[in-house]
Each structure stands twice: as structure tokens, then as C-alpha cells.
Symmetry: C2
Subunit: 244 residues, 2 copies
DNA sequence: TCGCTTTCGCTACGAGTCGTAGCGTAACTG
DNA sequence: CAGTTACGCTACGACTCGTAGCGAAAGCGA
């Protein structure tokens, strides 16, 4: 039961002569979804036929379905358009290419990740790992994620989108879990800003990278037993210092 | 200075009516490269014009070059053929598709990974991480690796090839490093076969996954400082038990 | 109600890639 | 020498991409 498209993930907004593209966008921007009505910018929006929000949803749904059934290589723009009951040109009015379309289609899945705060760092990590593993077990995610990352190694614009929509939401969980553990007293408070960021980065790469590698590359399942072991590995130094 | 194609990585061998494909191939097979002259099988091989070994090398070199310059998406069979000075049909006589060709082209790079045995587990891990990071820093590897993994999620035949040529050589290092540490006394000897395999798997996924995620997805470099920290994370439980 | 503007569905198109087939020739064996 | 296989070349059908042009639809303001 995935959430039924709560904010209807807005499209990529390929409008002619809009192009406020390279806005710096503060790195810690907390708004996960941008308003579909473009309240910012102040440009008049009430002219001409409005874009069909139903088409947006139909296209993104069709993209996820096609991803699950046909995989990345089998997904074509023409197929998605047909399945969504929409003209192919309508796709290209919203997304400049397949890559951006798939990022948006998959991004909403990553919005479902939440930080539980179960009362202990160990429990929180295990919960996050389990959530992430479940997400990676879905065929849409499997088909899209590595292919997107691969495309991103050559396209910096796409890499930015991926980071915003997929990577940062994951990293946010690490940050939240860490600060929760600090308020609980399980972890020492930050002494230094730079060190804290490095620590978050290394933990994030370790959790995300290891789980992805296990599921997508080694091709083995994430069992509760494995999660327990892996969490133990991460927590290695701490139990002995703080008494679990 | 990469090694200049030492064993000239043999092609995929798409010969008509050969097909001893699903040989079990013992898991611990130590021979990293198969002989290009197919001495096994005993089938008469000395009939007709032999395949050009020079063409093999030219094709694989051209593939790596094209990968580095154009990326995965920009690499086409026609382009590789032209660059190798070879007809396109010659490519298809040896490799059934782009995927298999790229696996073989990249596999030789992974053969360069070696286990150093520097006298301590910590030093060995740091050396392996550094080697792997250097490999991932090369443009051919970056362009190919994630794309291959992505294709592998849908193609089990390809997944098997990837595992043989890319994943297993890496995992072998973990096994070697672990057993070296055991003979040194840094790690307890295996009490149980299954547990040992699980431990190797989890360490392997953690090292490979984390380094890949850091380099290819987070897009940040692997510095000596980072390597030191990450190794410390892995070794977490041990320094306190064994006195570094 | 009437323009104005923008989106929509449709068809068609050029460019590019894939993987294969057919041909004549080159290389090697017995 | 005949027999066999690899090679280079050309051409092909099928497919995808991303775009252009058209008439119709759906909103808005006067």
C-alpha cells in the first residue's frame, strides 16, 4: 500500500522561456516537493489552457508500471505515452527526456522513507535499513535506480536532480537519526561542524551503499538477521563505550 | 600505468553450436582468465581460418577508449568497430551484444586488484580500499560499472558473467585478507563454515558498496583520511579486543 | 459572448542504432 | 588441391528518439 501520490509529484516544468535553472538552491533546503502552482517568481500563471494534473499522474503511474514490467531498457517514451492515454508530445512538454521523467517517477517512492525514532540508535538504524531494503526490493526501484545513477555519471544536470530527489532524502534520515541519538545521550554532541558532516557522510555512504550492493549487485535478500549483524557492525565502537 | 593487457582477455566465444554454457564451474575456481585456445573440451580447433587475436585486442581497447570518451550511452557497436578498424559483423561474431562486450572490456581492469598482505588487517584494508577507489576513479570504469549492474538486474545470464568477471575477483580479496589476518592471529579462526561465509559477504558488501556509493553516487573523492576513518569503522570492535 | 493564449491529440518526419543476411575474399589445414 | 572458417563490406528491416505542424479543446479577461 504505497501512499496514493500525496502531492502528485510535480513535473519537471519544461516551459518555454522560463529558465531560472541555475538558481543555487541552498543545500539544506527543507522543502521536499515544490509547489505545482509556482507561487514563487510571481509570473502570471492564469493564461491559456492549464496543464492537466490528471495527465501528470497518469504519466508518472505509467512510468512506474512500465519500469516494473519492462525494466529500464524496455521503457520507451512512446510506450509510456500510450499506456498513460496521452500523446507522446505531451510527455516531452513536461520532461526533456526519459532520464528526468524516471527521476520524478521514482522520487515519490523515496519520499515514503521516514525516520521512526524508536528510542534507541540500534532500533532506529535497523528500521531505516529495513525500510530501504523494502524499497529496493520493488521492481520499479530496481529497474530505475542503478540506471539513473549510471546516467548521472555523465550528466551533471541529471546528477543534481537525482541528488535532490533521491539521495538527499536518504541522507536526511541519517542526520535525523543521529541528532535523535544525541538528544537521547547515546552519541556525544557535535564538537565541530565539519567533523559532524564528515561523520554523517561516511555513515550515509556506508548504509546506503552496503544495502544497495547487497540487494542490487550481490543479489541477496536483506533478512532481519542480516540487518542485525550489519547494525552491529556500524555500532561497533559504541556498545562497549555506552553499554548498548 | 595500467598493465598492458597481460593475458589479452579472451572474447566471449560466441561460436555456433558450441554451447557448453551451463557448466557448474566450481565456485573457488582460481584461474582468472580462460585460455584463448580452448585446450579443454578436446574439440578439434584447427580447421578453417583462425580468429584474429589482434582483432580481439583492438576491439577491447577500442571499447575501453570509447567508454572513457563517450560513456555508456554514447558507446555504439558501430563506433567501436570503426575505431578498432574492424567490421561490425566481426564484433557480433564474438559478443552477442554490447553488454557482454563491455563486461569483458572492463573485466581485465578488475584483474589488476591484488591483495597486498602488509602485515596488519588495518593496512590491508586501507590498501584494498585505495586500490578499489583508484579503479573507480577511471572514466572507463565509471561509465561502465553502474550501467552493467543496471542491465544485470534484468538479465540473469549477464548477471552471471558480471559476477564471475567483476564481483568475484573483488570478493576474493576479502577472503584472502581475512584468512591472512587469521593466520596472523588478528582474527579468530572460523568456527563454522556458514558463519564465515556470511561474515565475508557482509564485509564484502560493506566495503564494495560503500566505496562505490561514495565515488559514483555521492561523487566525492576517497582521500587517505576518509580511508582511515572508514577502516576504523569496519575495525570498530577489534581494536578494543585485540589492542590495534 | 468573444478573442487570446496555452495545451492537447494526432500524424509525420529525419536521424540514429540495433542485430542480421548475403556476398566475395582471405587464411589456414589436411 | 579442396574444405572450412573468419573477415570486410554493403544493405536491410525494425525500432527509438525527439521535433514539427496541424486543428481542436480549455481556460482567462474584456
Amino acid at each position: 500500500m504505497p501512499a496514493p501520490q500525496p502531492p502528485a509529484t510535480p513535473p519537471h516544468e519544461v516551459r518555454p522561456a522560463e529558465a531560472p535553472q541555475d538558481v543555487p538552491r541552498g543545500p539544506g533546503l527543507p522543502t521536499p516537493t515544490r509547489s505545482p502552482e509556482t507561487p514563487e517568481g510571481g509570473a502570471a500563471r492564469a493564461k491559456g489552457r492549464p496543464r492537466s494534473a490528471a495527465a501528470d499522474r497518469a504519466i508518472l503511474d505509467a512510468t512506474r508500471e512500465a519500469l516494473a514490467e519492462l525494466g529500464w531498457g524496455g521503457l520507451t517514451m512512446g510506450h509510456v505515452a500510450t499506456r498513460a492515454g496521452v500523446a507522446k508530445t505531451t510527455l516531452y512538454r513536461r520532461w526533456p527526456s526519459k532520464n528526468e521523467l524516471v527521476v520524478d517517477a521514482v522520487a515519490s517512492l523515496f519520499d515514503e522513507l521516514v525516520m521512526p525514532d524508536l528510542g534507541s540508535l540500534r532500533a532506529d538504524i535497523e528500521a531505516v535499513v529495513t525500510q530501504f531494503a523494502d524499497l529496493l526490493a520493488r521492481p520499479e526501484t530496481q529497474a530505475a535506480l542503478l540506471a539513473l545513477f549510471a546516467e548521472g555519471t555523465r550528466d551533471r544536470q541529471l546528477r543534481r536532480r537525482i541528488r535532490e530527489a533521491i539521495v538527499d532524502p536518504q541522507k536526511r534520515l541519517v542526520r535525523q537519526g543521529r541528532s535523535a541519538a544525541q538528544t537521547r545521550g547515546e552519541l556525544a554532541p557535535d564538537c565541530d561542524e565539519a567533523t559532524a558532516r564528515e561523520e554523517i557522510d561516511i555513515i550515509f555512504d556506508t548504509i546506503a551503499g552496503t544495502v544497495e550492493h547487497r540487494v542490487l549487485i550481490s543479489g541477496e535478500p536483506i533478512t532481519p538477521e542480516w540487518t542485525r549483524r550489519f547494525t552491529g557492525l556500524l555500532l561497533g565502537p559504541f556498545p562497549s563505550l555506552l553499554g548498548d
